[in-house]
């Protein structure tokens, strides 16, 4: 058997890639051999292989022993790379409906979703396996949802239907600030009201229980007393009388008391919180730290006004820099709030662009500067449409060329957005035992001419470029 394995090992590089069978029958391993594996778990593996079996990564390394029955894809030679799948943390363009501004917290993005044919597939072809969608509208438009891109239909099932509270500090500062201020004030009032209601319920419950206890005690004492009387008196008749006397008056008393109790009514066993306006519910949850808010800002001043608005409150939030669907060419002055964002300790989502300082041709590098300031950055495509997604890696390459650490850049489009969306179990560093979710490029990730060849989700090949081309 080892001899056979050795033979296979020798033979493997000579074998042509078996592209005709991308997905092996169950139980058979699937192997990808590439020039570089960006595991994002440690150093990249050069000239490595990744072996998948039953939906998980079975082996990863640089010395391959091809097991029996394995299907091997050998893509070595052109700088091919394997990377955890890309994650698009914000995609407004998948939503085709519109809504105005105001307080619309009750809406979920998924409810506004009606996909055009092949829209998700286009993202899959760019290596994006997970995408978060924004509810339409301004102000407080609702809650975000998360989708996998390997699903079908106009209204596919979501991974998470109801995730972050979306807030937009955009447009006129006063209007936006007023809206948020009032929402926060109302939510705090609702929290206070609930607290008061709970305290009142607890008090009523405690009093009621104490009364019950006291009555039970009284009853017990009476019974004991009667028992004693019974013990001291005759045996047959008095006991019957005693029982009768013990039973008869209490029903009368009990009846009276019960009547009183009926009037009082037993407080409910479970606390019934007062009703909250459904548009306010996610804000309340956010202030209680049960939910994260994703706040977008179209100008740096909005960040300061937001911090001013929060004051001493400390609910969880992440910042999205750049309003609408794109970053202004002159949004370089976002760097003015770099330290404020770093001090707030929040995650920052920003488009992969190098904007100029306002009214100048002086470029800035917000991603690298924020990263250096210790901020966890998540990168978004340079534009909020499919074209932006298609130029995502080119933009990423620009950022890396201008000084952003390559590893940070790759994490900022894979692991970090996945963690921000709670999908860290799907998009994980590539290690043995991890679910086989990854993408295979025919060149370097940051080479804009390289294309995604395969996307794997739980070991299934959900995108195969050769099949697409065949179809065409």
């Amino acid at each position: 058997m080892p001899a056979a394995a050795a033979l296979l090992l020798l033979a493997a590089p000579l074998c042509p890639p078996q592209d005709e069978a991308p997905e092996p029958p169950a139980g058979r391993p699937l192997i990808f051999r590439v020039d570089r594996i960006e595991t994002l778990a440690g150093e990249p593996i050069e000239n490595g292989f990744l072996q998948v079996r039953d939906g998980v990564i079975e082996k990863i390394g640089d010395v391959l022993v091809v097991p029996e029955g394995a299907v091997v894809h050998d893509l070595r030679g052109d700088g091919s790379t394997i990377l955890p799948p890309l994650v698009l943390a914000r995609a407004g363009f998948l939503i085709h409906s519109t809504r105005g501004g105001g307080r619309n917290g009750r809406f979920r993005a998924i409810d506004s979703l009606w996909l055009e044919e092949g829209e998700l597939h286009d993202l899959l072809a760019e290596g994006i396996l997970i995408v978060a969608i924004d509810p339409p509208g301004d102000g407080i438009p609702g809650r975000t949802s998360v989708l996998a891109t390997d699903v079908e239909g106009h209204r596919p099932e979501a991974l998470v239907e109801d995730l972050h509270l979306r807030l937009r500090m955009e447009g006129g500062l006063r209007g936006a600030k007023d809206l948020m201020r009032k929402a926060i004030a109302d939510a705090e009032k609702a929290i206070e009201k609930e607290k008061e209601a709970r305290a009142a319920w607890e008090k009523a419950r405690a009093e009621w229980e104490a009364r019950q206890k006291a009555e039970a005690e009284q009853k017990k004492q009476q019974e004991q007393k009667q028992g004693q009387e019974q013990g001291s008196g005759g045996r047959s008749e008095p006991s019957a009388r005693g029982r009768g006397s013990a039973q008869e008056p209490p029903p009368g008393q009990d009846g009276g008391r019960n009547g009183g109790k009926e009037e009082e009514q037993e407080p409910p066993k479970e606390f019934q919180p007062p009703k909250i306006d459904p548009n306010l519910v996610p804000v309340v949850e956010w202030l209680r730290r049960e939910r994260v808010a994703w706040v977008s800002f179209d100008k740096p001043a909005a960040v300061l006004h937001w911090l001013d608005l929060l004051g001493d409150r400390d609910p969880a939030w992440s910042a999205i820099l750049g309003g609408g669907s794109r970053f202004s060419r002159f949004a370089g002055n976002f760097m003015e709030v770099r330290d404020a964002l770093a001090a707030a300790g929040v995650r920052v989502l920003l488009p992969a662009v190098l904007p100029n300082l306002p009214y100048t041709r002086i470029p800035t590098h917000p991603a690298a500067e924020l990263d250096q300031a210790g901020v966890e950055i998540v990168l978004l495509p340079p534009r909020g449409d499919l074209e932006g997604v298609r130029s995502f890696r080119l933009a990423l390459a620009d950022l890396v060329r201008e000084g952003l650490d390559r590893r940070i850049a790759l994490e900022a489009v894979t692991l970090r957005p996945a963690a921000a969306l709670g999908q860290e179990e799907i998009v994980r560093p590539l290690e043995v035992g991890a679910p086989a979710n990854f993408i295979v490029f025919d060149g370097d990730v940051l080479d804009p001419t390289a294309e995604v060849q395969y996307v794997l989700h739980d070991g299934r090949v959900v995108f195969d470029r050769s099949l697409e081309e065949e179809e065409e």
Partner: protein
């Protein structure tokens, strides 16, 4: 030569040169670190306390060695302005600079209070109270306003401070002005205002006699009904509000004077192109003016009295004790040139008043303390005095010289503008870079300091400096 500098820099290691993360242009001079001739009453500490400094930044900011034009207390040569948090702590020649303070080396430069525009548009967004929620410290025009030396502006009935790095405290006042339309060209409006003021005066008289009668013990009297009185007129006569007039011609100004003589009240008059023709009368009414020295009014040759505009307008008003502020013809900022007629070059407008004979001291007042007084914020801004807001500018020459640039603008104790760091004028007569000799001296001094500190087992030392050189 360069290799020596490099060597010296390498030897110096983390000398003060490298210890300036907050301000990328470190000073290379030793500044006022000698033992103080005069101890501050409050012993300053190096660590960050309150104030608006960022965490880890000293609350102290010292502007050292400049010629300080305090406005209210004369000119102090080679003095230090020490600010703590957003206030001025000390001003004088012997002020000790606390260790760790941020330092601006103003040697050879002039320090003035931040300039104030009594009218502006397009610099700060929002009107009145809404400035609080709409202030954009990163707006281009805020930066340009600072480059022009402005640190506070009136905007839509509010006074806003041109803060650069925060939004808190942008709104510092709301002048209580009542616009009074009182022109001979509109007899109806004049009649109405007179009637309102007469009604208010009558009410006040009746109120006084009611109070006197009540004090005398009379009982069956009723107080006058305030509902029948125009409340604005009442507030004006009680000097709780200021009447705001627009009047340029002598005729209009005369009408205003007559009104103010009949109904004494606080007044501010915008315009005043022919004010010089009746300066004595204006002076007696106590009205303040907001003038534009270059605003022209063609003289009418048919009139026998003096009329038309005069470059001497400001001087004549000053001589007659009329307080005034100066604004340029366009109360906004354009980028159409560095010596335009807008708020980018406010001192240039004032320079024309100086050309007409106005003393420089009075000229400076017109865009600092007198402007603050007109806006009702003179207790906070308009002069360099301990206790006042730390709003000041450092200029590389006389404020009214056309070549002068603002090198630094400090607003609420924060360095809001640094010419060398801003993209607008850094290339025009750049701040002189230190010579190789100065670099070596500074490095050697840094090494000595480190050695001294080591010998003393001292603290962290290192000032964050903004100084000359880049």
């Amino acid at each position: 030569m360069m290799s020596w500098i490099v060597l010296a820099l390498v030897l110096a290691g983390p000398a003060p040169l490298a210890a300036a993360p907050a301000v990328p242009v470190p000073s290379l001079r030793r500044l006022a670190q000698e033992p103080p001739p005069e101890q501050p009453t409050e012993e300053p500490k190096a660590e960050a306390e309150d104030g608006n400094g960022k965490e880890g930044t000293s609350p102290y900011l010292a502007v050292v060695g400049g010629e300080v034009h305090t406005v209210t207390d004369g000119v102090l040569p080679a003095a230090t302005v020490l600010c703590k948090g957003d206030r001025i702590l000390k001003v004088g020649a012997g002020v000790r600079v606390p260790e760790g303070a941020r330092v601006i080396d103003a040697t050879g430069m002039k320090v003035y209070p931040g300039l104030i525009a009594v009218r502006s548009s397009g610099i700060v967004s929002g009107r009145g109270e809404s400035v609080r929620d709409e202030y954009d410290p990163f707006a281009l025009n805020v930066d340009l306003g600072l480059a022009g030396g402005l640190t506070a502006v009136e905007t839509g009935g509010a006074v806003a401070k041109l803060l650069r790095h925060s939004v808190e405290g942008a709104l510092i006042g709301k002048p209580d002005w009542v616009t009074v339309s009182y022109s001979p060209s509109s007899p109806r409006a004049r009649r109405e205002w007179r009637a309102r003021l007469e009604g208010a005066r009558d009410f006040l008289r009746r109120q006084r006699s009611y109070e006197a009668a009540k004090a005398a013990g009379e009982e069956d009297i009723s107080p006058p009904d305030p509902k029948s009185v125009n409340q604005q007129a009442l507030r004006l006569l009680q000097r709780q509000a200021t009447a705001r007039f627009n009047a340029d011609s002598a005729k209009d100004l005369l009408a205003v004077c007559e009104l103010l003589e009949d109904f004494p009240m606080n007044a501010v008059i915008f315009g005043g192109r022919e004010a010089w023709t009746l300066a004595d009368r204006l002076g007696r009414t106590g009205a303040r003016l907001v003038i534009t020295p270059r605003a022209k009014r063609r003289p009418d040759p048919e009139l026998s009295r003096p009329n038309g505009w005069s470059i001497e307008n400001a001087r004549i008003l000053w001589e007659h004790g009329v307080e005034f502020a100066i604004v340029p013809g366009q109360a906004y900022i354009t980028t159409g040139g560095i010596a335009g007629r807008d708020l980018l070059t406010l001192p240039m407008e004032v320079a024309f008043a100086i050309r007409g004979g106005l003393p420089e001291e009075a000229a400076l007042r017109s865009i600092t303390i007198d402007a603050a007084r007109i806006l009702g914020v003179e207790d906070r801004i308009g002069s360099i005095e301990p206790g006042k807001d730390a709003d000041l500018i450092v200029c590389d020459g006389d404020l009214f010289d056309y070549r002068t640039f603002v090198q630094w603008a400090v607003v609420a104790g924060d360095i809001a503008y640094d010419k060398q760091m801003a993209p607008y004028f850094a290339h025009i007569r750049p701040r002189p870079e230190p010579s190789a000799g100065e670099v070596i001296d500074a490095v050697i001094e840094g090494i000595r300091d480190q050695q001294d500190e080591a010998a003393e087992d001292g603290g962290d030392g290192g000032s964050n400096r903004a100084g000359d050189g880049s």
